[in-house]
C-alpha cells in the first residue's frame, strides 16, 4: 500500500503543479485553462521528438520548455487582446477551443501512439524508512513544493502579487488595470506553460502516454484546483498530491484498480457538493 502511495505521488506532483498553474491563471485572467496539460505535453513531446532526432537531451528539453512557454504566451496574448473581461461561457469555451486546436496539432505532429520517454534524471532509487522512492519522484516533489511556495510568495509579497489578489476579489478592476495586466497575463501564461512542460517531462517516463492522454492529465489537476475553489494554491497543490496518492493506493486494491482514475473525482464532487451546500444563489444580482 505504501509503495502504491509513493508511486502515485509521482503523478501527484504533476497534478499539483498543473493545478497551481490553473489556479494562478484563473486568478489572473479569469480563464479556466483546460489546455494546461496539453501545453505541457506539447513541450514534452517536442523534447522527445528532438531527442529522437539525435539532439542532446538537455538541449531538446530546453527547446521543449521554450516552445511550451512561447505557445502559452501566444495564447495569453490572444486572450488579453480579445477576452480581458470574459463571461462564464467565454472563460470555459475559449480554453476548450485551445485544447481542441492543440490536440489536433499534436495528433498531426506526434501521432497517437504512446512513446517510450527517456528520463531527464538518472535512474536512482532512495530508500527512506524501508520505502523505495525514485529520484525523479523526490525531485518532482521538490519542484511541486517550490512552485507552490514560489507562487504564494509572489502573490502575497510583491507589488504585482498584491494587485493580483485585489483583482481576484474584484474582477471589474481588471478592466481598469488592463494596461498593466496585459503584459502580466502574457507572462503568467508563458510561465505556467514552461512549468507544465517541466512537470510532464519529469513524470512522463513512468507513464508512456499518448499526446492526447497526456493532455487529459488536466482533469485530475482541475479536480484539485476545484477543491481549492480555483483560488487557494495550497489546497490545490495538496489535493493534487492527494489525488495521485489515492490513485496509487487504489491501484493495489483489486476491484478498484481499473477505476482508480475515476475515484478521486467522485470524492471531490462529493466534497464540493458539501462545500457549496449553502450557496443558494448565483453571483448575478
Amino acid at each position: 500500500m505504501i509503495d502504491g502511495i509513493v508511486a502515485g505521488l509521482a503523478s501527484g506532483t504533476a497534478y499539483a503543479i498543473l493545478a497551481v498553474c490553473v489556479v494562478v491563471l484563473f486568478r489572473l485572467t479569469g480563464v479556466l485553462n483546460f489546455a494546461q496539460a496539453a501545453l505541457g505535453a506539447f513541450g514534452a513531446y517536442l523534447c522527445y521528438a528532438l531527442a529522437g532526432a539525435h539532439l542532446p537531451l538537455w538541449l531538446a528539453a530546453l527547446a521543449g520548455l521554450a516552445a511550451a512557454g512561447i505557445i502559452a504566451g501566444l495564447v495569453g496574448w490572444v486572450l488579453a487582446r480579445w477576452f480581458s473581461t470574459p463571461t462564464t461561457t467565454e472563460r470555459i469555451v475559449v480554453s476548450v477551443v485551445f485544447l481542441i486546436v492543440l490536440l489536433a496539432a499534436g495528433f498531426r505532429l506526434f501521432g497517437d501512439t504512446p512513446r517510450v520517454m527517456p528520463s531527464l534524471l538518472p535512474e536512482g532509487v532512495l530508500t527512506i524508512g524501508g520505502v523505495r522512492v525514485s529520484l525523479t519522484t523526490v525531485v518532482a516533489l521538490g519542484l511541486a513544493v517550490a512552485v507552490a511556495v514560489g507562487v504564494s510568495l509572489l502573490l502575497r509579497h510583491t507589488h504585482v502579487g498584491v494587485r493580483l489578489q485585489a483583482m481576484s476579489e474584484r474582477p471589474m478592476t481588471v478592466q481598469l488595470l488592463r494596461v498593466n495586466t496585459r503584459a502580466l497575463s502574457i507572462g503568467a501564461w508563458a510561465g505556467t506553460g514552461v512549468l507544465s512542460a517541466l512537470a510532464l517531462l519529469l513524470v512522463a517516463p513512468a507513464r508512456n502516454q499518448t499526446f492526447e492522454s497526456m493532455s487529459f492529465l488536466v482533469i485530475p489537476a482541475l479536480a484539485a484546483a476545484l477543491l481549492g475553489g480555483f483560488s487557494n494554491i495550497w489546497v490545490a497543490a495538496g489535493s493534487g498530491l492527494a489525488i495521485g496518492a489515492i490513485e496509487g493506493a487504489a491501484a493495489r486494491i483489486d476491484g478498484l484498480a481499473n477505476y482508480r482514475g475515476a475515484l478521486p473525482f467522485v470524492l471531490i464532487v462529493i466534497a464540493l457538493i458539501w462545500m457549496r451546500r449553502r450557496r443558494v444563489w448565483d453571483d448575478a444580482r
Binding site: V93, V97, I100, V101, A104, I219, A223, L272, R277, W281
Partner: protein, 581 residues
C-alpha cells in the same frame, strides 16, 4: 392584440410552417434520390444535430456550460445496445426512447446533485463525469461488442433510407417538443435563470427545478442521439463518446447557435460535412475539429451569439423596424384620488436587524406600510434600504426582528413561499432576460396561480397601464428604462399584495420619470397592492408616495407623511445635508 401585431404573428406562423414544409420536402427528396452513402451521412447529420440541440438547451438556453453531453449519448447508446442484445425482438424505436429516458434520468440526477455548483465549477464537474464514464466504458466496452453482435433495427429501419426517415423524425419531434416546452413556464424559466437566479426566483421560478430540468431534458435529447447512433453503427466504440467529442460538440454548438433548431441542424451539417470535405480535397479529416474550434473562437470574440442566433437577430431587427420598442407613458386621465386610503396594515416590520460580519446593515428598523399606501423608503447610499427589501423577500436572513405581510408572519418562509404569499419586488440592476419577448416575460412573471383567461386579462391590463410595446417584441430590442418598467409590469401581472420597487426611475428621462411616478401613485387604487418604494429622485418620491420612512445607518430616523418627512431638518441633514448647504 393590435391589428398590426396580429398580422405580424400570422406572417411569422406562415413563415415557420412554410420553412418546415420545405425542409421536410427537401429531406424526402434527398433521402430517396441520393446514393445510400450520402443518405447515411445525412442520418448522421440528424444525430449530430440532436447532440448539438442538447448542448444548446443546457448551455445556450439555461446557461449551464456542459462538457458531458456525449456521455449522456453514451448512456443512451449503451442501453440500446444492451436491450438489442437481450431483447432482440423489442422494437428499435421503443428501445431508443428507453435509452433517451434513462439518459434523461441520469441527467436529472446530476442536475439535482449539482444544483448549487455553478459556472466554471459546474463545467469541471461535468468534465469529470465525462472522464469517469469514459474510463468505466473502456473497462467494459459496449454490450455486444465482445461477441460481435451488432444492433440491427427491424425493418423498415434496417434500410439506410428507412433509418434516415427515423433519425430526422426523432429530431423534428424533439424540436417540436422543446418548442412547446419553451412556451410553458418551465421552459421560460431557463433564460430567466440564466440571466440571474435571484431575479428568476423573485418571479416565483423554482430555480433548482429549472436547472435540474434543463439538465434532464438535455440529457434525454442526447440519449436519443446516442441510441440512434447505436442503430446506425451497429457496434459502438468508446472513442465516439470521449470527453474530447463532448468538447467539440460544445464548441460547434456555440459556433452555430444551437439554442435554435436551425443552429442545431447547421452544427450537424458542420460536424459531418467538414471532415468529409477535407477528406475529398485530400486533407486529413481530423483537422476539422480544429477548424470548428477556431470558428467558435471567432464567434465568441465577436460576442453576438452563434451563427443561427445572429441570423435570427437580424431577421427580428428587420421585422420590428419602425415598431415601437419603448414604453409609451402617456399622461393619464383623472386627477388625485378622492377615495380614502385603506389603512389596514399590509407590511409590518418590527425591530429588524441584519449584520454582515460586524457591520450592521439594519439596526432595529421598524416600519408599517398600510394597504393603500405608496410608502417611500429613503436615505443615503448604504443606509440599508436594499437590504431591507432583500430581507422582506427572503434573499437575506434577518438576525432579529419580525416581518408580517397582511397579518401573516414571513419568518422562515423561502423566497418561493413569499412570492406565493403575494410579495413581489424589482431589482436595482434589472437583469435583461433578453432571450424572451415582452409577452413571454409577462406570462412567466404572472405566475402559475391564474386561470389562462384571467391571466391574459391581467396581462392586458398592465400592458395598457404602462403603454408596453407589442407582446411579440423581443426584450433585447427594448431600451433600459422600458425594461425596468416591464419588470414592474410583470410583478403587477401576478396581482401581488405587496410590491417592493428598488429605484424604478433610474435610466428614465425627466418626463418619463414623472409619468411613471404618477402611475406608481395610483398602483394601490388600480391594482390593489401596497407599494414600498426606494428612490433617490425626490421629485419622484414627492409625486408618488403618500408616506415616507428615512433610514440612516440601518436605523429609522424619521417617518410619516411624505411632505412633512422631507422637510424635517434631521432628514435634510442626513440625506441631502451637504448638497443643500
Amino acid at each position: 392584440m393590435t391589428r398590426a401585431r396580429a398580422v405580424r404573428a400570422e406572417r411569422a406562423r406562415r413563415a415557420r410552417l412554410a420553412t418546415l414544409a420545405a425542409l421536410i420536402a427537401l429531406l424526402l427528396v434527398l433521402g430517396f434520390t441520393l446514393p445510400v452513402y450520402w443518405v447515411f451521412l445525412l442520418s448522421t447529420v440528424a444525430i449530430s444535430a440532436l447532440i448539438a440541440r442538447s448542448v444548446g438547451l443546457v448551455t445556450n438556453q439555461a446557461g449551464l456550460v456542459t462538457l458531458c453531453q456525449m456521455s449522456f449519448a453514451a448512456i443512451g447508446g449503451w442501453l440500446v445496445s444492451w436491450m438489442a442484445l437481450h431483447w432482440p425482438h423489442l422494437s428499435f424505436v421503443v428501445i431508443v426512447l428507453m435509452g433517451g429516458v434513462v439518459a434523461g434520468v441520469a441527467g436529472l440526477l446530476i442536475g439535482i446533485a449539482t444544483v448549487r455548483i455553478r459556472g466554471i465549477e459546474f463545467a469541471v464537474v461535468t468534465l469529470g463525469f465525462a472522464a469517469a464514464l469514459d474510463l468505466v466504458l473502456r473497462q467494459g466496452s459496449f454490450p455486444g461488442v465482445g461477441s460481435g453482435t451488432a444492433v440491427t433495427p427491424q425493418a423498415p429501419f434496417d434500410d439506410p433510407r428507412g433509418f434516415f426517415v427515423l433519425a430526422w423524425a426523432v429530431l423534428l419531434a424533439v424540436q417540436l417538443g422543446l418548442g412547446a416546452l419553451g412556451r410553458t413556464r418551465h421552459g421560460l424559466a431557463w433564460p430567466a435563470v440564466k440571466a440571474s437566479e435571484r431575479a428568476a426566483a423573485a418571479l416565483g421560478v423554482r430555480v433548482g427545478a429549472a436547472k435540474a430540468g434543463a439538465m434532464g431534458a438535455g440529457a434525454l435529447v442526447a440519449g436519443l442521439g446516442g441510441g440512434l447512433l447505436a442503430g446506425q453503427y451497429g457496434l459502438l466504440t468508446t472513442q465516439v463518446f470521449s470527453p474530447l467529442t463532448s468538447m467539440v460538440h460544445l464548441a460547434t454548438a456555440v459556433l452555430c447557435g444551437a439554442s435554435l433548431f436551425s443552429g442545431a441542424v447547421l452544427a450537424g451539417v458542420f460536424a459531418v460535412f467538414v471532415p468529409e470535405l477535407l477528406r475529398r480535397i485530400g486533407l486529413p479529416p481530423d483537422i476539422a475539429n480544429a477548424l470548428l474550434a477556431i470558428a467558435a473562437f471567432d464567434v465568441l470574440r465577436r460576442g453576438n451569439g452563434g451563427l443561427a442566433e445572429q441570423w435570427r437577430a437580424k431577421r427580428e431587427d428587420r421585422a420590428f423596424r419602425g415598431i415601437p420598442r419603448s414604453c409609451a407613458l402617456l399622461p393619464l386621465e383623472g386627477g388625485a384620488t378622492t377615495r380614502d386610503r385603506d389603512a389596514t396594515p399590509c407590511l409590518e416590520i418590527t425591530g429588524l436587524t441584519v449584520a454582515f460580519g460586524g457591520q450592521r446593515a439594519l439596526d432595529g428598523a421598524s416600519l408599517t406600510v398600510r394597504q393603500g399606501d405608496v410608502h417611500a423608503l429613503i436615505g443615503p447610499n448604504g443606509a440599508g434600504k436594499t437590504t431591507l427589501i432583500d430581507v422582506v423577500t427572503g434573499f437575506v436572513p434577518a438576525d432579529a426582528g419580525g416581518i408580517a405581510v397582511a397579518g401573516r408572519a414571513l419568518d422562515g418562509l423561502t423566497v418561493q413561499q413569499r412570492v406565493a404569499a403575494g410579495v413581489r419586488r424589482t431589482f436595482q440592476q434589472p437583469r435583461g432576460t433578453s432571450a424572451m419577448t415582452v409577452d413571454e416575460y409577462l406570462r412567466l412573471a404572472a405566475g402559475p396561480g391564474h386561470a389562462e383567461r384571467q391571466g391574459a386579462a391581467s396581462r392586458a391590463a398592465v400592458a395598457e397601464f404602462f403603454g408596453l410595446p407589442g407582446g411579440d417584441v423581443p426584450i433585447r430590442l427594448l431600451d433600459v428604462g422600458s425594461r425596468r418598467i416591464l419588470e414592474i409590469a410583470g410583478a403587477l401581472a401576478s396581482a401581488p399584495t405587496l410590491l417592493l420597487l428598488d429605484e424604478p426611475a433610474a435610466g428614465l428621462d425627466v418626463a418619463q420619470s414623472l409619468e411613471l411616478a404618477e402611475r406608481v401613485r395610483r398602483l394601490p387604487e388600480r391594482f390593489g397592492c401596497a407599494v414600498l418604494l426606494i428612490e433617490h429622485d425626490m421629485a419622484f418620491v414627492r409625486a408618488a408616495a403618500n408616506r415616507a420612512t428615512v433610514l440612516d445607518g440601518g436605523r429609522v430616523i424619521a417617518g410619516g407623511e411624505t411632505a412633512a418627512v422631507l422637510d424635517e431638518p434631521v432628514v435634510i441633514a442626513a440625506y441631502l445635508g451637504t448638497e443643500i448647504a
